[in-house]
Assembly symmetry: none
Homo-oligomer: 230 residues x 2
DNA sequence: ACAGGCTTTTAACCTTAATTAACATTCCTT
DNA sequence: AAGGAATGTTAATTAAGGTTAAAAGCCTGT
């Protein structure tokens, strides 16, 4: 992966700067926000690969930021930074959708390990060379091919990218925005209609298999439902 | 997911038994090993979904077990249990291939959260959840489908979410506020009327089955009453 | 350079879901 | 029993998305 991006929410400027610079020295691209109010907006704008949130912030604490982020993205790893160490804080952190927890004062070494650990665990575009089995279908993302029994259909670039995003998020909801950004790179009005066209194509491809369905969630996105039951 | 399996390596029999039983009470299937020498063999035999390793063991410490496990499997999540708290131990743990770290003494609550967190993170895709049987009806939340005898009705997002909340709280009272928050995300006046509309739709769906009823509790909420008698 | 075949975008028109509104009903309060 | 708030019901409206086809863009080979 090339330069993972990190959203770092921290209100202490001194600590913040040190951490930001240390992370950048390790080739992370860091966006730092010092006011909790701006954090969620920055998140949706910059779509970082991982978030590091201080829990003690003016205006809005780390937990509520995490919850807000989870509204739009239930995958991005979140690490909480806290001064406290009580079990109930850890519990609260996990309940808010956090994935790890580090206590102040922490060593950069440890933070970096935890970041890399989470990035490795959540790497979604891990091995797109492998075939992806979707009920009766086989999708070869690297070859842009979709097989069904004896039929091999060559996919175009957009078709393949869209199917890849959906496959990687199968059985969960993926927002239109996310799809548009990964497949088209932006989410303007016209691309938006474009997506509709391609969704329609994919539905057509999968029509022969009732176990596969692309469910529309109006105003939100899609859910690629694949029923693996025999 | 049905009953994740856990390999638990712990040499203190007293602690071990408590933890094993607590985990089993939460529907994990736990294999406990007390001697480090046997751990790796047990791992290859039982292919657990996750490992919990104490680092202080006779014969073979947790770190070397982790390294051995990583030889054959680089995906399975590993949690270390340790009495120490030094950064260098954490570093050592991650270097050995661990994914999380919990310090003795720990609360079961926290361990369970960390286990679930890692299982969720490593679960490649969302897994289809079970169908919900409601008297004569079958509700498939991830397919947005409601079956009654031969009829399959496709549900919209709001219909499905509302029905899900009600089913999960069947035969108990759910407040309007809770429903509004889970289905619509907020509970303003207009959404409130919206809920009435959808409740009306659901009642319509279930009209053919007298065992199912949505009871209004004025000023409070609803009770989704399902009589399971044959 | 341009013809032919492809993919992608744009456009037009259609369908459906979600919201809002309007009016009816229930039920609690006094 | 009257009045009012909460909810039920149905219909109208609005916005999102589905479908299909035509237009535009892009390679590739000659």
């Amino acid at each position: 992966m090339s330069n993972p991006t990190i959203l770092y929410v921290e209100d202490e400027p001194f600590l913040g700067r040190i951490v930001k610079e240390s992370l950048e020295a390790r080739n992370f691209t860091v966006t730092m926000v010092s006011d909790g109010k701006d954090a969620v907006k920055k998140f949706t704008d910059s779509r970082p690969d991982l978030c590091v949130l201080d829990v003690m912030l003016p205006n809005k604490d780390g937990y509520s930021i995490a919850q807000a982020i989870r509204q739009s993205n239930d995958k991005v790893p979140i690490i909480f930074v806290t001064a406290k160490t009580l079990t109930e804080d850890v519990v609260k952190g996990f309940e808010a959708g956090g994935n790890d927890y580090i206590r102040k004062p922490f060593s950069m070494e440890e933070l970096i390990l935890r970041i890399n650990n989470l990035l490795r665990l959540t790497q979604r575009y891990g091995s797109p060379s492998e075939k992806i089995v979707l009920s009766e279908f086989e999708f070869h993302p690297d070859r842009y091919e979709l097989r069904h029994q004896e039929n091999v259909r060559k996919l175009s670039h957009r078709e393949a990218m869209l199917l890849l995003v959906l496959s990687q998020n199968r059985n969960t909801t993926v927002s239109r925005k996310e799809v548009l950004l990964t497949v088209w790179g932006d989410d303007t009005f016209f691309n938006s209609r474009n997506l509709d066209v391609y969704i329609s194509k994919l539905r057509d491809f999968f029509k022969p298999d009732p176990a596969i369905e692309i469910i529309t969630i109006k105003g939100v996105g899609y859910r690629f439902s694949v029923d693996e039951q025999a």
